[in-house]
Amino acid sequence: MITTDIGIIGAGPTGMFAVFEAGLLKMHCHLIDSLPQAGGQLSEIYPQKPIYDIPGYPAINAQELVDKLSEQIAPFHPGYTLGERVETLQKLDNGSWLIGTNEGTQISCKAVVIAGGLGCFEPRKPEVDRLAEFEGKGVMYAVRNPEMFRDRNIVIAGGGDSALDWTIFLANVAKKVTLVHRGDTFRGAPDAAEKVAELARTGAIDLVLKSRVVALDGAGHLEQVTITGPGGDNRNLQADNFIPLFGLSPKLGPIEDWGLNIDRSAIEVNTFDYSTNIDGIFAIGDINTYPGKLKLILCGFHEAALMAQSAFKYVYPDQRLTFKYTTVYGITELA
């Protein structure tokens, strides 16, 4: 079990900066995010877009801002649990909180900061018969370990960059890769589209255009997918794995069930310190709501600073907090 002062749900810019503000007050933090990388919307939706409203930076790329935030919080040695979704939050008898993820990781902390933004980014799922039944039994929405597809029959669906990239990669690993795309052209990275067309020409993969996977079948584990073509004709393909790659979409998810006051998918907070209706739980960044709320990175940073002051008093009720400027005392590394 991981033990820390503050468990931060969401490693977007707000959660990351909260590590800094808490670190200045000598509190340890652990960040948890369902995405495999830190950065929230910046890394997931618009990594290459410039941002113009970060003080001190006339313009900075979203991914560069995330990289700089990582560097800025490194002296405070935050823990990271990435690629895992927080499912449960439980108050223990000793007053601390226990955060649990879908992978069974447990984080015990004195205070909880929800910096969940728009919610978890989850895979977009196509409408395919018996899809849910075969999840984990042949259906997967991401490729984590390409080796597990060695010598297997794989069907990939999608027309975006990840569908193209994984088709190219797995062509050398799997027994057979079939890429199913609803259109007849690929947009996005032209090199990848050209490479896929070349692999199809040489017979290294099967490319099925203007078609969709509509049903799955198998006994216990996936064995076959059904594909519908342009004229509505169906055909079955042998498949050990079906990998639909249609990007991610945000969902508030489990946070809704923790007894917090929620208004239109956002957590209501007290603007004094961004505390919620539950003692010891704070909510900062895009996930909270209050009169005048602006969903901006800058506002998330401000909320993190105010939250940290109250969180300190909550975590260390017996210690006195005196406000200090970083320019006076510098940044002292946390052990």
């Binding site: 618009y46 728009l118 977009r124 799922k125 609803r182």
Partner: protein, 105 residues
């Protein structure tokens, strides 16, 4: 005035009337009318959370641009009737159209 109809996720249809010459996207009108669309990226054709299905009047709408097609092509279950509402300007091309808010993906 520009008149079109919006059907919500429960199948309820409601007429919408917008004065001409207003520079808004359909996404902005839908959000302003409290329809539950996220429009996460604020209309930059990046998130697809503003997707609508055009049940009537598709042929009179301007063709989707490259940015819109790029994102539509990556979605699981879209067909020719799917459009990003943030990329549709509210003008006379929307007159008489019927837009449906699809299920969340």
């Amino acid at each position: 005035m520009i008149n079109f109809i919006v059907e919500d996720r429960n199948g309820v249809q409601q007429p919408i009337e917008i004065p001409e010459g207003i520079s808004l996207s359909l996404m902005e009108v839908l959000k302003g009318s409290d329809y539950p669309i996220l429009a996460t990226c604020g209309g930059m054709a990046l998130c697809a959370t503003c997707r609508v299905e055009v049940l009537k009047g598709l042929e009179q709408l301007p063709e989707p641009g490259d940015e819109e097609l790029d994102i539509l092509d990556t979605l699981p279950f879209v067909d020719e009737s799917s459009r990003l509402s943030c990329q549709l300007r509210v003008n006379e091309t929307l007159e008489g159209c019927l837009f449906r808010i699809p299920e969340e993906d």
